[in-house]
């Protein structure tokens, strides 16, 4: 009876699926410890390093692209600024040239005007001088002619000397008036 119970108890312990057996606990611990050790010391550091490198490579690529984009942007802005400056410069030059041209034309026009006036004035002076010279030589010629004419007249009648003199003067005056009217 007692032996029977003991056997039953032994069977019970052997059969209870919730009671762990010592050897299995030991084997399980060792097996897991090995797995853990390899993961911990070798395999995961290995893959983590590679994942980190990959991340760095990808981020490096992205950073590089970003840097290039920034550079391209700055170059574009620089270029645009230069272009605007050039346009501005060209406009300024054109304006300046226009102004200079206008000034030049005005100056030349003034010069032409001045020269024209000079020429006209010189012409007038020349004409005046010629007229005066002509008038004086005419006056001399007329006097001589008159004297000659008077001599001839005197040859015939000298008593009318005074009257003839008046005739001459009047004649001369008429001449002058005619000259005045002609001018």
């Amino acid at each position: 009876m007692i032996a029977n119970l003991a056997q039953l108890a032994a069977e019970e312990t052997e059969q209870n699926p919730l009671l762990p057996a010592g050897p299995e606990l030991l084997v399980g611990t060792i097996a897991f410890a090995i797995v853990f050790f390899f993961f911990w010391k070798k395999l995961l550091p290995n893959i983590n390093k590679v994942l980190e490198e990959r991340r760095a490579a990808i981020e490096g690529g992205i950073e590089e692209a970003d840097a290039m984009k920034v550079e391209a942007q700055s170059v574009l802005e620089q270029y645009k600024a230069q272009l605007a400056e050039a346009r501005h410069e060209a406009a300024r030059l054109r304006q300046e040239a226009q102004e200079q041209g206008a000034a030049l034309i005005a100056e030349m026009r003034a010069e032409g005007q001045r020269q024209r006036e000079e020429i006209v004035a010189a012409g007038h002076a020349q004409i005046d001088a010629d007229r005066k010279a002509a008038a004086s030589s005419l006056r001399q010629d007329v006097g001589k002619l008159a004297t000659e004419l008077a001599g001839k007249l005197v040859g015939e009648s000298l008593e009318d000397h005074a009257r003839q003199s008046r005739v001459i003067d009047r004649f001369l005056d008429e001449l002058e008036e005619k000259a005045e009217a002609a001018r």
Partner: protein, 256 residues
């Protein structure tokens, strides 16, 4: 095989007991132990092949390994513990996950056909490792008094019910939790194995009886159960690791 009258050899506990394959100096080496050792070799072997010479541009094997590693690391550890706190526990959780998963998968591998985790010793060892980690961490983080406050869920605002809550929490955290942690895995694998054995044996048994159609049904059920077990095996490995992470998180958390 027990005989219950009709001659059907219903599978029972004897399905989980093995005669020693070899005895070395009084140490009885059985099939389950062999499977555990093969599990170790397989897990390390696979990840050695995948990560041993890891490259920045991965090969196929490394890609598969990385996917598994990433699943545990990101999907379980980072999700529960956060990236900063969790990084330290990644090796433990990755080891646990793949060790348990492969142990479970033996259930449907021809010739082996036995989930190692259905022998309580193996889940118990793993649960004990998590338990010790948790206790040590809680002591380290909170000190002696803090440990008891953390374990008992000490919270002044509870008032009169506080003593009751403390007793329940203490018992639940320190005694029940490691037990359920191990038994959850064990019982799922145990039951799964029983179901598989039962439908397999029933297929044979019914083939020789007048209910031949039943054999077909039973065989279909065997196939269905194998697929279902494949799912349960992965889920149980996942749940075990997820719980381990949440215990660690409880240890790291400020006591509430």
């Amino acid at each position: 095989m027990s005989d219950n009258g009709c001659g059907f050899p219903a599978p029972g506990l004897q399905s989980f007991l093995f005669k020693p394959l070899a005895t070395v100096g009084g140490f009885e080496f059985n099939k389950v132990m062999l499977l555990v050792l093969i599990t170790t070799v397989l897990v390390i072997g696979f990840f050695w092949a995948a990560f041993g010479k890891a490259k920045v541009v991965p090969g196929k094997l490394q890609m598969v390994g990385e996917a598994g590693y990433d699943f545990v690391r990101r999907g379980i550890v980072y999700e529960t513990l956060g990236k900063r706190e969790g990084e330290k526990y990644v090796p433990l959780m990755v080891s646990l996950f793949f060790f348990i998963w492969i142990m479970n998968i033996w259930s449907v591998i021809p010739l082996a056909q036995f989930p190692v985790a259905s022998v309580i010793a193996f889940p118990a060892v793993l649960a004990a490792i998590v338990y010790i980690t948790w206790v040590a961490l809680t002591f380290k983080k909170h000190g002696f008094v803090g440990f008891f406050k953390n374990v008992t869920g000490y919270d002044k605002s509870l008032g009169a019910v506080l003593p009751l809550v403390m007793v329940i929490e203490f018992f639940s955290n320190l005694v029940v939790r490691p037990f359920t942690h191990a038994v959850r895995l064990f019982a799922n694998m145990f039951a799964g194995h029983l179901m598989l054995v039962m439908f397999t044996v029933a297929s044979w048994y019914l083939l020789n009886s007048w209910l031949v159609v039943g054999a077909g049904v039973s065989f279909v059920m065997t196939i269905a159960m194998i697929l279902f077990e494949l799912f349960v095996q992965a889920v149980q490995a996942y749940v075990f690791v997820l719980l381990a992470c949440s215990y660690v998180q409880g240890a790291l958390a400020e006591h509430h």
